[in-house]
Structures are given as C-alpha cells and as structure tokens.
Symmetry: C2
C-alpha cells in the first residue's frame, strides 16, 4: 500500500480523549517530551479547564457525530480514552444525531458495570476505524515497573501477603469489583468497591482511629492491581502522590502495585513522598510470572 | 452410663459466655422464654453491664482457669460464645495460671484472622470437655428463616442479583473477608471488610451523597451471609433494626439474608421497621439449594 509522506501512519496524530483529573496532563506531557503527536479532545464539564493550553477541542458527552468527524478530519491514527469520570447521567449529555444511535447500547452496558461500559465505548471507536490505544502505548513512561520503585525495600512478609492479596483480587474480578485492598499482617482488612482507592485507605485510617484495627505500630500495605481481564486500554489503575500521603496517614508501611498494569501519576513526586515517609513502593508481577 | 436425676444431661445448664452488644440479651431472653437453663458468664469491660440482672459471673479476658472451674462447678453441658468483641489486646487481659498456657496458641491464631482465632478458642473448650454450641442450638428462634420475612416481596431482579452476590462472597471466603455486600442493579458496589456491615451501608450512603452512585431512585439491596466454612457456632452474622434503618437511609430497597445462617436481632422491631420503610426483608438459601 502506497501512502504519501503526509499520510504516513507515523505522522498521524493520536487523539487523546480527556475526562477529569490529572492523568490527561501526565499523558500529554509524556507524549510531548517523547515527540509524539496528539490531538486533545476534552469533555465539557468533566475535563480540567487547564487542558485548553493543549489546544483542546471541547465537546459535550453525547456529541459522537462531532467527535468522529473531528477524528476523521485530523486523520487520527487512534484514540486514547483517559481520565476520571463518574457514571454520567443522560441528562448531562448533549446527544447529537450520531450520538442517539449509540444511546441504547450505552444504557445497556452501563448497567453491567464499568468494564462493560468501557468495552462498549471502545467498540464504537473501532467500528469507526479508530483503534483504541492504551496509555501504555502512547506514554509507556507512566507504567509501573517491576521491582523496587522507591528507595525502601518491602519486607519479605509483605511480598508473601501480596501474593495472597492478588489471589483475593483475582477471585473478585469476575464480579467487576476491586482493584485494591489493604492487608495488615496476614489479614485482608478492606477491599475496594465503588468508593475508590482514596476512600479505601481512609477507611483503614478510621478503623485504626476507632481501635477496630491495632493502632500501634506501622504495618500493612496497599495493594493496587488491575482486574483480571480488565481492559487496560481504557481503564488502567492509577496511583499518585495523594495515594502515598494517605497510605502514610493510615499508618501503613507501603504500597505494592501490579507491575506493568498500574499507572504512576507524577511518579517523581510520589517516589520522593514515599522515600521521605519511609514507605516502600514496589512493583510485583501479579498474575503468572512471580 | 448411669447418671443420677440431678446430673441428667437435660437438666444441666448451658454456659453463655457473653461479649459485647445486644445479642447476648436476645439469646438469654429466647432461652428463658423456652425454659432452657443457662449460666451467664460476662467478660469484664466488654459485656454490657446490664447482664448483671441475669446473675452474670463477671470474668476478665485471660481468666481461663477461673472460667473452666466455674463451668465444671455448674456442671455445664456446653458453652455458647456470643457477642461482639474487637480484637483484644494482651494488655487488657488478666491472665491467670491456666490462661498463660493458652496465650501462645491465642497469639498465633489471632494473626490468621477472626475465623482462626475463634476456632482456636472453640478447641480450648472442647478439650476441657465443654462442647461449643451455636446460637442456633440454644435459641433457634433467632435464626433467619427462608422466604419472605417482612411484608414486602423482593423484585425478581434482586433475587437474581443476590445469587451473583452469593457467588462473590463465596469467592471471597477463602480470604476471611466479607459477610456482606451491597448491589445496585447488576452491579456490586461495596464489599464488607473489617469495617463491618453498618459502615458498609454508610459508605453506600456517602457514595450516593457524593453523586458517585446514582442519587435518584431507590434500588439495590444489602446481602448478608455467612462466609463459606465460617464457624456458625461462634460467629454467626447478625442484622438488627439498626441495619434496616441504615439500609433505608442509603436509599436501598431491601435486605436479603442467607436463610438459616444469619441471626435476626430484635426481629419484631426489625420487621416492623422494614415494613414501615417499604423495604423487603427476605431469606434466601445461598449455597446449594436455590
């Protein structure tokens, strides 16, 4: 297949479709630093207004016709869906003519959990000819490596307990629950649901304050992993400096992330935060390879 | 074996070893109403002072020598361990000579989770010749029946979702986590850890308040079950009127309990609370029989 220089796949941009939070910035900074081309699409009312400095195209939820037209016009080679989003209500959408044709599919999927909703959205883009890429494809610098990430090594018992923790998260995966848990000693004390990782750690903090978990002594850790079969292209677990701060406040000894399957947001700030607080920060291959 | 009238097994009392909360009262009231003999042993600093009106013998944690001597003196036919207890600290104990011989076993088990700790304690009594009985043995009136408990029937979708919820709790059982979860629609939104059922429901309340779960409309339910292999003799899940109040506040539509394996505390108050709030309250056989 012969293509002109201008249309060579290498030079075509990737569309970064941005929802809320800081992750879109991290992805865009990493892409710029590596000289990778991007087109920024920001979701009105959800994405950070600061994205305007990346020349973002602002679109409302439901404006799928406009979005697909933009992606075609810019000859995008693919699309990355990134950032935090609460389950949107239909009333917050501005559904265009094309958008309406996807609404039924959307409403059916949303009832089945986050994974189903995101997989459904991925299919929409792929059918339109825009493969969905993951953060790991466009900004591999953000992905948790294997082994020690900070300066401090985890104790052997934490690594052993993490293996049991992975097994627990594996068992939960079919139910679309749980990307994280907190273990103290050999005991799993809290499992993440819809509340998210910050609230999970805060719960452990409260249990310690109330004396329902031993107050004295540091110990235990946050385990953060992807769900088995989770679509890492559109929903990769993330930790950042705030995670490490909360872990320190909860009197835990560190964080173990699933290597290659968790994103590290502002990793320099996070690592120095962990080092200063005396916490370990470690990437462990969770499934398959030990 | 020939026994005098006075020593006939039927006439020997059951020792009710009481930790905190209202459940010991419910058990003692049910036993009295049914004319079953009991000896009440209350744990100092943990059991409700009101137990004194049942002529309780007050003992501190760790006074195992005194306890076993009492059980022998009263010719107890068995012992029931009942009531709520945080994991005790060794410093709160008054360990007697016999107690010391159990301390190592206790400390080893406590690290392995609640089930291991309770199973260990059961063995202590059994080795001393006092079989451990469950609430179901001495107060079967408190056990959740199968089928509709209140006035309102659950919708068919809730019963279907409960089956999936049981499967999720089954998957968690090997990890000694989770006697309860909250499902909304087909989605499991929160799984219970060390925080307990009340805090689990309060979490759902907060998620709704923050808009992280749909605010509008009632729906969803609390599922409360025993863990697979959980020792129902010493650690049966309990719900009560407070559970129903919280479920109502969280905008859920009802409660499904595992029939035969969950205790209903103050069931009359709970049932009328559910009826008045328009909540269903239903016993479903969770494992095996549908």
């Amino acid at each position: 297949m012969i293509q002109s220089e201008a249309h060579a796949p290498e030079s075509r941009p990737i569309a970064i479709l941005c929802a809320g939070g800081a992750l879109p910035f991290a992805v865009l900074h990493a892409m710029r630093a590596a000289g990778r081309r991007s087109i920024v699409v920001a979701i009105e009312g959800i994405a950070d207004p600061g994205l305007s400095r990346f020349h973002a195209h602002w679109l409302a939820l439901g404006q799928l016709g406009k979005l697909f037209a933009l992606l075609r016009r810019e000859r995008c080679a693919g699309v990355v869906l990134i950032g935090a989003m609460n389950r949107p209500s239909v009333s917050s959408m501005r559904i265009d003519a094309i958008g309406w044709t996807y609404l039924f599919d959307f409403l059916r999927n949303i009832r089945r959990g986050d994974d189903a909703m995101l997989r459904g959205m991925m299919r929409w883009f792929e059918v339109q000819g825009f493969p969905v890429l993951g953060v790991a494809d466009v900004a591999p610098e953000l992905v948790a490596p294997k082994g020690r990430i900070g300066r401090i090594d985890p104790p052997a018992e934490a690594v052993t307990a993490a293996a049991r923790g992975f097994a627990c998260l594996d068992a939960l995966s079919p139910f679309d629950v749980g990307q994280a848990l907190v273990a103290i000693g050999e005991r799993i004390v809290a499992v993440e649901g819809a509340e998210g990782t910050d609230a999970l750690i805060e719960r452990v903090m409260e249990l310690r304050r109330d004396g329902r978990l031993p107050r004295a002594g540091r110990g235990g850790f946050l385990l953060k992993a992807a769900k088995v079969g989770q679509s890492l292209k559109v929903d990769m677990p993330v930790i950042g400096p705030r995670t490490v701060e909360l872990v320190a406040s909860a009197g835990l000894a560190g964080v173990i992330v699933e290597a290659h399957r968790v994103l590290l947001l502002e990793s320099q700030a996070m690592i120095s935060g962990a080092d200063e607080a005396g916490l370990f920060l470690f990437g462990l291959e969770g499934r398959g390879a030990p």
